[in-house]
Amino acid sequence: MFDNVWLIPILPFIGFLINGLFGKKIKNETVIGTIAAGAVFGSFIVSCMTLYKLLSLGSEERLAEVKFFSWITSGTFNADVAFLIDPLSCIMIMIVSGVGFLIHLYSIAYMHGEEGFYRYFAYLNLFTFSMFLLVLGNNLLLMFVGWEGVGLCSYLLIGYYFHKKSAGDAGKKAFVMNRVGDFGFLLGLFTLFWYMGSTHNVWTITFSEMAKTSHLLPTGGVVTVITLCFFLGATGKSAQIPLYTWLPDAMEGPTPVSALIHAATMVTAGVYMIARMNYLFIRSPETLTVIAVIGACTALFAATIGTAQNDIKRVLAYSTVSQLGYMFLAMGVGAFGAGVFHLMTHAFFKACLFLGSGAVIHSMHGALHHAHSHDDAQDMRNMGGLKSKMPITFATFLLATIAIAGIPGFSGFFSKDEILWQAFSNPHHGSLNILLWGMGAIAAGLTAFYMFRLVFMTFFGECRITPKAKDHLHESPLVIVIPLIVLAGLSVVGGYIGIPKVIGEVLGGIPNYFEHYLDPVFKYSEEYMSVHGAHGGIHNIALEWGLMGTSVLIAIIGITVAYALYVSNTGIPVKFVAAFPALHRAVYNKWYIDELYDFMIVNPCKSFSQFLWKGFDVIVIDGAVNGVAKSVMALSGVFRLMQTGLLSNYAWSMAFGVVVMLSYFILK
């Protein structure tokens, strides 16, 4: 049925091999770019075929496992290299290959003339390969291989401009923080495997078998430990509190990398992982509460930081952290379908926003370069008025911004509103629900504010660079513009496949296709909830409309405030900063979280390492080794004096020895 699915990851891998091994010799950018983008396009075609085949099956039959070979076999334990084809993995491969292809295409123009062009595309293809492994693997171990692979590629690509120290540091930071999360992932895997094996003799890490045996796990207790460990892994990969600080720094990488890895695909791996193992998470109400609270806190917290940043990419980075918070909020309230839906729409509009910002930066960079100016090409304070210079970029950027702000009719509205409603009405968290909804709604308002602040500062008003540089600003080439248009289109219409039920009924009974499509994946959770979920949640259509209206109103307020502050009365932000200097400093400096981490963890670690190096290693270890050698030397320095070279001395000592020995034997 799905015989050719192996092509999906293999094509980018071949691209990686060709570009990685021979790219330096090929040199020709067109050839390298075509190989890389073509490989991902091939994956996209195969993914479309796979999705088509899957859809042609009945809803209950949409689960297939394609085994290639046995990977590890030890006793009753078995891990295959096998792919799991189900609605969830199909959505993910469509996003990865579709958005991935557009970004590869975009990169050909964006990275034009860069040193190490081939290296960039080799890494990008390797990333795509690893991401496919992550989402297609049918067992936890294969998923972990992909999980580590994308982490490695993320590190390599963040540090792409490795001659810049900040880029290298950012890469290291991302890698180390991800290691903390990976540690949690592994602990979760081991605990699950050990517990299921030792108490129920079920030695499996295959998702489909885990789903069938998950009823053996008691609610709470051990399953809470397991799921919390997995969630720690998710916080690392998906940049949630407390491990989110690497993502804003990851903006040191090239902008298309930020779009692909740090917005659309890799950072959503944690969400995917939770959705994939929903049958475990649903069994632990404690974990769900932790996930929901952390998700809501991250959504709100990152949004506040986003309001005061001036670097265009950093705003988008905090926006990504915040939107990922929404997805985790959805996971935490048991709305797995809504979370994955938001994952998809977010992939569209955030990729579009990042690529748009990349086009702006590219153009700014060129213009500033021509004018011999050393101004920062990424600082929004240097931009302004780009609307007329880059009309297509502006139009696509605006559409994506409207989508992320949650204006009705655009994709972000459908997914975000579904999450907010589920946060309010879910049966899991009781009175906490109102708080979760409130945090989500405020974050939505802040999102609308900072995104429109970004749009107004970048595209509206007067151009703030020198007139000489201004003349060099121009619209980007076609290869950059086409992905923008496609992604903007998807940001607008992508939401219509998942219209929330209440709206669908008003529109004449349009079902929520997306949720029905994902139903088979979450059926174990549904069954569990139908047995254990006594409260049943809130079903009040009037209330749902009311909340929807409220969140839209909050978003519109956010936009209005942004318009008031950054278009009509541009003096106010300055006065505001002057009035509350401490507040502005705190927000601008990201609430000093990095400094706090430095103080609490990084510096103690460094001092401890210094102690281990200078104190323990140099003094104790080296001291012991050198001490032994030195004492041997000192002793031999004494004993060698016995070698006088005089025959009589030797003869005397021999005679003396003989006498001593003889007297011992005689007198014994």
Binding site: G645, L646, S648, A655
Partner: protein
């Protein structure tokens, strides 16, 4: 019985003289002769005990020792000549190339 004691006492005296000679003298030829003296003292003991015990093993040992001593004399004298050629002396205190 007294006979055997006499032989053994003479042997002991000879051995002691040889030992003291090796320990105290500097002339390498004298030291060499003292070593021969010690070997022959031992030979005498072997013979005595061989007679005493009525066992020929001791006498066989004596033959071996005499053979080895002859070989040793050849090598030793050659060394002493070589030494004399180099140093113009046969004083053993001059031989301390292996000093620490």
């Amino acid at each position: 019985m007294a006979n055997f004691n006499g032989y053994l006492i003479i042997s002991a005296i000879l051995f002691s003289i040889g030992t003291i000679g090796v320990l105290t003298r500097k002339n390498s030829i004298v030291i060499f002769m003292c070593i021969e003296l010690m070997l022959n003292a031992v030979n005498l003991t072997f013979i005595t005990f061989s007679r005493y015990l009525g066992n020929l093993d001791g006498q066989i040992f004596v033959f071996f020792i005499m053979t080895v001593a002859a070989a040793e004399a050849a090598v030793g004298l050659a060394l002493i000549i070589a030494f004399y050629n180099n140093k113009d002396t046969i004083d053993v205190d001059e031989v301390q190339l292996m000093k620490w």
